[in-house]
């Protein structure tokens, strides 16, 4: 009886706290009025320096809302040829993960599994195999089960795990290259689709001048030892050339000529990285 009374008090207490909490929450929802407009050029607020590069899936999700896309036509089936150039391997890693996102869009089990195996091979070459092992196996298992949502999550986790692990190993430059490889792979696919079947609304997704400027800044801040030889000169030139193409014209559009040039540049650099 005493317990019942006690628990009754307890319930009433919890109920009172919940009421207080929800009242507080609703109040605080209006507690700090956000300004309707801020002057970005005069605002003396520190900008967070970390840049998060969107994964290809973010572009693909938007493209899907425009209608059916020929994802299967975008499966390259390219095989990875490893060499001793770890910087190239890092770039390749990002591109292979991007290929994984395409294979998921096409719901192609065999291709996803092939990507999972390539991820393991590349992770081994980068010295991060143990960190990635579990993710790669989940990609393969997800493909077997046709659980595409899970595979998308695992591809993102895989790339993030490699980036974080390389950062911990003080391989910051290689972590950057993994992100850039993924971005180039996604951009190439979008440009491929839009140059084959131009749609103004789809091409608009290529409007990424600020992100590209951040990518170029990060790339050029890397040690020259991390971007050796003619391959990385081509990457540098490609990124710089994309700069003017990813801005909207006076008509507010990314026109078809720009899309075709973006496609040629990104296909060219992808082929060079894979070692066509």
């Amino acid at each position: 009886m005493r317990w019942l009374r006690k628990s009754g008090y307890l319930s009433a207490g919890v109920f009172f706290l919940v009421i207080l909490w929800s009242g507080y929450s609703s109040f605080s929802a209006f507690g700090e009025d956000a300004p309707k407009k801020i002057n970005l050029s005069q605002l003396k607020v520190e900008l967070v320096q970390d840049v998060v590069i969107p994964i290809p899936q973010e572009i693909f999700a938007s493209l899907d809302k425009l209608g059916q896309q020929s994802w299967r036509s975008q499966i390259s089936g390219k095989k990875v040829k490893l060499d001793t150039n770890r910087a190239r391997t890092a770039l390749l890693f990002g591109m292979v993960v991007a290929d994984g996102f395409i294979a998921v869009q096409a719901e192609d089990r065999d291709e996803v599994k092939r990507v999972g195996r390539q991820v393991l091979e590349l992770a081994g070459a980068l010295g991060v195999k143990s960190a990635v092992n579990e993710h790669a196996l989940s990609i393969i298992e997800g493909a077997n089960a046709g659980d595409w949502s899970e595979v998308k999550h695992e591809l993102d986790r895989t790339q993030e795990t490699v980036i974080r692990t390389m950062e911990e190993m003080r391989d910051q430059d290689f972590a950057t290259l993994v992100s850039i490889g993924g971005w180039l792979g996604g951009t190439r696919t979008l440009a491929n689709l839009m140059s084959a079947d131009y749609e103004e609304e789809g091409a608009e997704l290529l409007h990424q001048p600020d992100l590209l400027a951040d990518i170029i800044r990060r790339y050029q801040e890397m040690s020259s030892k991390s971007r050796p030889g003619p391959l990385f000169k081509q990457v540098d030139e490609t990124l710089v050339s994309l700069g003017s193409l990813m801005k909207k014209g006076k008509d507010g559009k990314i026109n078809k000529d720009s899309v075709v040039m973006i496609q040629q540049l990104t296909v060219g650099v992808t082929d060079a990285v894979y070692g066509k």
Binding site: S28, K37, L43, V45, L47, V48, V52, A61, D210
Partner: protein, 149 residues
């Protein structure tokens, strides 16, 4: 025999401690709080948002704010959440376009966590404005996560 048993326990205890240390390295109380706030939107049964693995973190004092620049894509639907590592802090988060216009579709603030949703009308750079509205005098850790669909 007893010595062997003790050493097995000691080794196991040490392994657990080392393992816990490894896990601890990845723990961020602000991120945990933000994920807690995000969970209702990640329910697999309800056309869930896809939570990105990448996130931002830093420290802010009471009254301070920061901007995060981030590329968003037209037609996608995004949620951003901030979590503070200090449970006594009150934080806010809002999204602005490249011209500085507030573009939140909806937002909420619940003490150490807050969230804002946006459906961009154009692809390009957007600014996530985070602020510690109230909090302790010293700096508190924060984390921002986001999801899309």
């Amino acid at each position: 025999m007893k010595v062997k048993s003790i050493s097995v326990w000691a080794v196991t205890f040490l392994a657990v401690l080392i393992g816990a240390g490894g896990v601890w390295a990845f723990v961020h109380e602000g991120k945990d709080a933000a994920i807690g706030a995000a969970l209702p939107k990640l329910d697999l049964a309800k056309n869930p948002y896809i939570l990105r693995e990448s996130w931002w973190q830093g420290e802010l004092k009471s009254g301070e704010m920061k901007l995060i620049k981030h590329q968003l894509f037209q037609r996608n639907d995004y949620w951003f959440w901030i979590g503070s590592s200090n449970p006594d802090a009150e934080v806010s988060i809002h999204i602005y376009d490249a011209k500085g216009n507030l573009v939140d579709e909806e937002s909420f603030e619940k003490g150490p966590v807050a969230g804002a949703r946006v459906t961009p009308k154009a692809s390009g750079a957007y600014f996530v404005r985070i602020k510690v509205v109230k909090g302790p005098a010293g700096p508190s850790g924060w984390a921002v996560i986001y999801a899309f669909r």
